[in-house]
Amino acid sequence: MKHFSLMIRNLTRRPGRTTALILLTAFLAISVFCGTIVVSSLRHGLDSMENRLGADIIVVPAEAESKVSMKNLLLQGTIGTFYMDASALKKVQETEGVGRASAQVFLSSMKADCCSVKVQIIGFDPENDFVVQPWISESLNRPLSDMEVVVGCRVETDVGNNFRIYDRSCRVAAKLASTGTGLDTAVYCNMNTIHILLQAAEEKGISHKIDTGNDSDVVSAIYVKVLPGADPGVVNNRLNGHIRKATAIRTAGMITEVADSLSGVSRTIAVLIIAVWVLALIILLIVFSMMVNERRRELAVYRLLGMSRKMLSGMILKEAALCSLTGALCGTAVGAVLVFPFTTLIETSLKLPYLTPDGGNVILYACIAIAVTILAGCVASARTASALSRVDPGTTLREGA
């Protein structure tokens, strides 16, 4: 039997105490790991949203904002169907300071068509698009043909499958990588396809016509990239003055709004983690202090048999570290089971962009959670280790304590 076996026996033959220590440290590890993963996923999601948005300004029909919040449309995939005259695109392109402008047409599917739920269908013009196309290029390296669609990563279908929208069959050409935003639940197609689908919707009695035009002349949103050096605020004001019955919205404002919500959530999570830690550390200190009396006689025997103070405190610290390691591993595993399968639930509950970090970062966060938990266990046991190593064996054993 070696020192390590001695520690294992000390722990396994005191199952109540050991289980309590493991549970407490597991609780600490769960809070650190889950908290870190959620906060980093939110930050990752915000970064992804900023990268994917690609536009400085979005021009939408004046009544659009009363129908749906643009932030919700982008973040949660809230369905938004609103239209304005396609001539607005030309006016936007002619506005001073506008570098690139690209239109999109939104359509909502019927619930039963594909997904037991409505999905946002977005038509874009591949020739002048700078918002969706770069992102689609990552999954599809050829132009999107007519009656072909690209689906967001959260739409459960496979490439090559047929997808029925308003009784028209569309072939899935590609599936996009996750963005952590509402764009993951959308379906993308070119302008020809969207107009066919608008026509099909019309046949089903769902009208998209606006007062002055027909279907082929409508757009839902125009994404604007300002010229280098131009002030997006000034261009935004110009667009608002120049285009009738439309509103120009700066994306920076939306991102700031999301970032503010995100920092609020992060703060709440940080406070919760700190509260859990303070509570668990206090309980750990109490458990270890109770151990001082319980183990006084046992440790006096070790001293009597020749264990030095350093060896004794080392043994207590190693026991605490072993318990903490077990607790940390169990806690991290439980945390992973809680946080990863329910990513979608967390995302929809927080209503913020949420993108889980890659495997390497997840492993890094798990290692940090394990290390921090072991450290906490050792710190909490340090005082006990020091108190117990000063036990006077002669007196203690005589007292029969």
């Binding site: 997904c115 739920v117 990563c153 959260r154 739409v155 279908t157 399968p341 979608t344």
Partner: protein, 135 residues
């Protein structure tokens, strides 16, 4: 008392599965009352959960370790099937954000996997009991 710990856990988990499948951990519910694509998966999960509950109750009343092992083994198989019910054997709605995919599927996989682990533990404990009795 100790020998009933695992079938107690099995019964508790089966109850969570059965009750969960008709409440918060159940399939999607359409506002208009129409049946969602995942409804059949929900019913299958409910049936599987009830089967596990019955098996756990049977184990609780059985004294003979060999019979208990057989029942634990059946529970293990039923739990393994349960893992594959939502999404593999029965279809779910085709959007990741839907309740059946966001809540029911992961929750049921975790619960059925726990049932599977508990059944394995139960088999090991009962096998050790048989060995001890023989010794």
């Amino acid at each position: 008392m100790k020998k009933n710990v695992f079938c107690g856990i099995l019964l508790a988990l089966a109850a969570v599965i059965a009750i969960g499948s008709v409440t918060v951990l159940g399939p999607c519910v359409h506002e208009d009352g129409s049946e969602a694509l995942c409804s059949s998966a929900g019913r299958a999960v409910l049936f599987d959960g009830c089967t596990l509950a019955v098996l756990a109750a049977l184990i609780l009343f059985m004294r003979k370790p060999s019979i208990r092992i057989v029942l634990f083994f059946i529970s293990l198989c039923v739990a393994a099937v349960g893992i594959a019910l939502p999404g593999t054997f029965f279809p779910l709605c085709r959007m990741d954000t839907m309740h059946c995919r966001a809540v029911m599927k992961p929750a049921m996989i975790i619960l059925f996997a726990s049932e599977l682990i508990v059944s394995v533990c139960g088999i090991i404990v009962e096998r050790n009991r048989i060995r001890r009795e023989r010794a």
